[in-house]
């Protein structure tokens, strides 16, 4: 074997070596142990899952690694569950406390984002060099309080701008060893992605409206809200346009994801090394739809296959344009982070979407 892999010439592909059969075995044992331990094992399962994906992702002859301590994750989950329970109990017993809680959440959000990113990055490594995340509460608050509040004030029009600031914040504050990541996308590029997705949605509504103008979804919604009764199964005439709309809606959503992924990766860099992401909306849509069908038809047993397939497609379309070799990143100082932030974000369904 060559002692120096081709680091200097041309682009370096990311390669994913995971395979569905192998991962299925790991996944099902994880699920079983999680069930048998009433969920406690899920922290270990999470680490094992992540390790499988990290270890099997290769760049320039080296695999990535995930180092999180399952006990830290378990502790984080317990804290998250405790906070959530306190919130549910208090807000149903003392409804007046709910605004106070929401306010507290709003101010905790920047902290949660920082902790989550710090936990994930510091537990990830490549070539024995850890990633890192360093950001101050004030900077985070500007993005996750100020710009978040801007969204309802502008009736959602500011959302692409928030998305831009969010990605910018996450990437610029990330480090690999002592090298900081750069991000040079512009807000306008996010706006044009959202404009196109919105156009798709308008088309979806128009298409469904032409096929069946009198779609009485409101009646159904109101009736199902009442007394917990389920309305009659909708007739095929109702289902077709609904499916069409769902399909278009999914397409808009997947376009949004795909285009944002490409945009973000193609404008991120570290030490002059740049990423090249070439995901296609059409392929992503196909993968998502067939994954969905397979998962439903197999009662979830094909989830591992679906995950592997998606990861392989993503990695097949990710490359690194190196500037010189990958050898000159210097390790930074290591600090430990509690997992509470990440698990809080998880339980309140805050998607950090990286």
């Amino acid at each position: 074997m060559d002692s120096t892999p081709a680091t200097t010439a041309g682009v370096l592909p990311f390669r994913f070596h995971g395979n569905a059969t192998e991962y299925f075995r790991i996944w099902i044992v994880n699920v079983m142990l999680t069930v048998l331990t009433l969920g406690i094992y899920s922290a270990w399962a999470k680490v094992r899952n992540k390790r499988y994906f990290y270890n099997n992702t290769e760049l320039d002859g080296s695999g990535f690694d995930y180092h999180a301590d399952p006990q830290a994750i378990l502790k984080g989950r317990l804290i998250a569950v405790a906070v959530f329970t306190a919130y549910s109990v208090t807000s149903s017993a003392v409804p007046a406390a709910q605004p106070a809680f929401l306010l507290a959440f709003l101010f905790a959000l920047p902290w949660v984002v920082i902790r989550t990113m710090a936990f994930n990055t510091r537990n990830s490594s490549f070539r024995n060099i850890r990633f890192n995340f360093r950001a101050g509460y004030r900077d985070a608050a500007r993005v996750y309080i100020l710009f978040v509040l801007l969204i309802p004030l502008t009736l959602g029009l500011a959302y692409p701008y928030f998305e831009y600031r969010h990605r910018d914040f996450m990437i610029r504050n990330s480090e690999f060893g002592t090298s900081e990541f750069d991000f040079d996308a512009r807000a306008g590029q996010f706006f044009s992605i959202y404009a196109r997705a919105f156009g798709l949605l308008v088309l979806a509504v128009l298409a469904a409206g032409i096929v069946l103008p009198g779609l009485v979804t409101t009646a159904h919604a109101a009736a199902s809200a009442a007394g917990g009764k389920v309305p009659t199964p909708p007739s095929p005439a109702n289902i077709l346009p609904a499916l069409l709309m769902l399909g278009m809606y999914m397409m808009a959503g997947i376009y949004l994801r795909t285009a944002t992924s490409n945009l973000v990766l193609n404008h991120a860099a570290a030490n002059g090394h740049r990423f090249i992401s070439t995901l296609q909306t059409r392929s992503m849509l196909w993968i998502y739809l067939t994954n969905l069908a397979a998962i439903v038809a197999s009662l979830g047993l094909l989830i591992p296959w679906a995950k592997i397939r998606l990861m392989r497609y993503r990695m097949d379309n990710l490359k690194l344009q190196p500037q010189g070799g990958l050898d000159n990143f210097i390790a930074g100082e290591q600090t430990r982070v509690m997992a509470a932030g990440e698990e809080l974000a998880g339980i309140f369904d805050i998607d950090l979407g990286l």
Binding site: M1, D2, S3, T4, G18, E22, Y23, F24, R25, I26, I28, V29, M32, T34, V35, L36, K46, R48, R51, Y52, N55, N56, D60, G61, S62, G63, D65, A93, P95, F126, R127, N128, I129, G177, A219, A222, A223, A225, A226, G227, G228, K229, V230, P231, T232, G253, Y288, N291, L292, I295, V296, G300, L301, I303, A306, L326, N328, F329, I330, A331
Partner: protein
């Protein structure tokens, strides 16, 4: 111990070495000898460790193994099988039981069966049972909050003011008051009348404690006992806390699905919704049966013949096709069975 030739106890591996200070990758030979000594060797580099002071990552499928050395450097080795063999001989293989399970097909099949079985049992028995316990532990105020505003929304979208005359209303209200008094909940439950519009002959219980009966249902009845029977069924929904239980069960199913599917990325919301909808209809069928049980007992103990329930069910199930939305019975499966039971 007899000194013997022990070639199998030592082995050489190709590996990548990372010193932990910078990201340089060094192709090395990793030599594990029979004394538990581990040597990392490259043309102009050599360092030695004891096998027992290293930390070797547990096997995970066929992904490369990471060997961490006490000085913070590490090696990445791809040849899993040979590494496992030598670690086995040197009794240095830790945490291998997971991989052991994962690589035995019988164990994997057992895991599939156990998981599917546990999932089915949780959905069929576990969640409903937990939801029931939780619902009875919650104060009635929770139900009321759930049902808040529902009637106003329905008044705006589906229902019209009732055209029944005062006499009929007071007569039925008096019957209803008698029923709720028997339950000791006279102040908790109210009876309202509405023109059902598209809902047709229908009655439903709102979590707030309001039972709504449509004019069409009253007109379809031949005697008040039939309406009492329907009201008993609706009171069953309220007394058994079906609204809260349904809400709890649905969120529990969604949570369970989310737990298992983990991060199957954005499809997760759709995937989580689908089984929830399917399970939901099975749950609502069970609630209908429970409300029927309640009505049956109530009628029997009140000395009202249960055939009245069968009679009105039969009558309104006859003309259910002609409505776009569906009737009282649409969410009540197995109408014929139910009718037979009350005959």
């Amino acid at each position: 111990m007899q000194p013997r030739a022990v070639p199998a106890r030592s082995a050489e591996f190709e590996a990548r070495y990372y010193d932990g200070r910078n990201s340089a990758q060094l192709a090395v030979r990793l030599i594990i000898d029979s004394n538990g000594q581990l040597t990392v060797q490259a043309p102009d580099f050599r360092t030695e460790y004891l096998l027992r002071e290293t930390r070797i990552s547990g096997r995970l499928g066929n992904s490369p193994r990471m060997i961490d050395f006490p000085d913070g450097s590490r090696c990445e080795v791809a040849d899993n099988d040979r590494l496992d063999a030598i670690l086995e001989l040197q009794s240095a293989n830790r945490g291998g039981w997971l991989h052991h399970m994962e690589s035995r097909t019988a164990h994997v099949l057992l895991a599939v069966a156990l998981t599917l079985g546990a999932g089915a049992a949780a959905v069929r028995y576990g969640i409903p049972w937990l939801a029931e316990q939780a619902a009875y532990a919650l104060p009635p105020a929770v139900d009321q909050r759930l049902g808040q505003g529902t009637l106003q929304i329905m008044d705006r979208t589906l229902l019209e003011p009732s055209h029944l005359d005062q006499a009929t209303r007071s007569r039925l209200r008096a019957r209803f008051a008698g029923m709720t008094a028997r339950l000791g909940k006279a102040d908790r439950y109210r009876l309202e009348f509405r023109d059902g519009g598209r809902l047709g002959a229908n009655a439903f219980a709102l979590p707030s404690g309001t039972v709504v009966m449509t004019d069409q249902l009253v007109q379809a009845s031949e005697q008040d006992e039939e309406l009492v029977a329907v009201l008993a069924h609706e009171l069953g929904h309220l007394e058994r806390r079906h609204a809260v239980r349904m809400a709890l069960q649905n969120s529990a199913v969604a949570l369970l699905v989310a737990l298992v599917t983990g991060d199957v990325v954005s499809t997760s919301t759709l995937i989580a919704a689908l089984p929830t909808v399917l399970v939901n209809s099975s749950y609502s069928r069970r609630f209908e049966n429970e409300a029927d049980d309640f009505a049956h007992d109530f009628l029997v103990t009140s000395g009202i013949p249960t055939r009245h329930f069968a009679a009105i069910l039969e009558r309104i199930s006859g003309d259910r096709e002609d409505s776009t939305f569906g009737h009282y019975l649409s969410s009540h499966p197995g109408t014929r069975e139910r009718i037979a039971r009350f005959r």
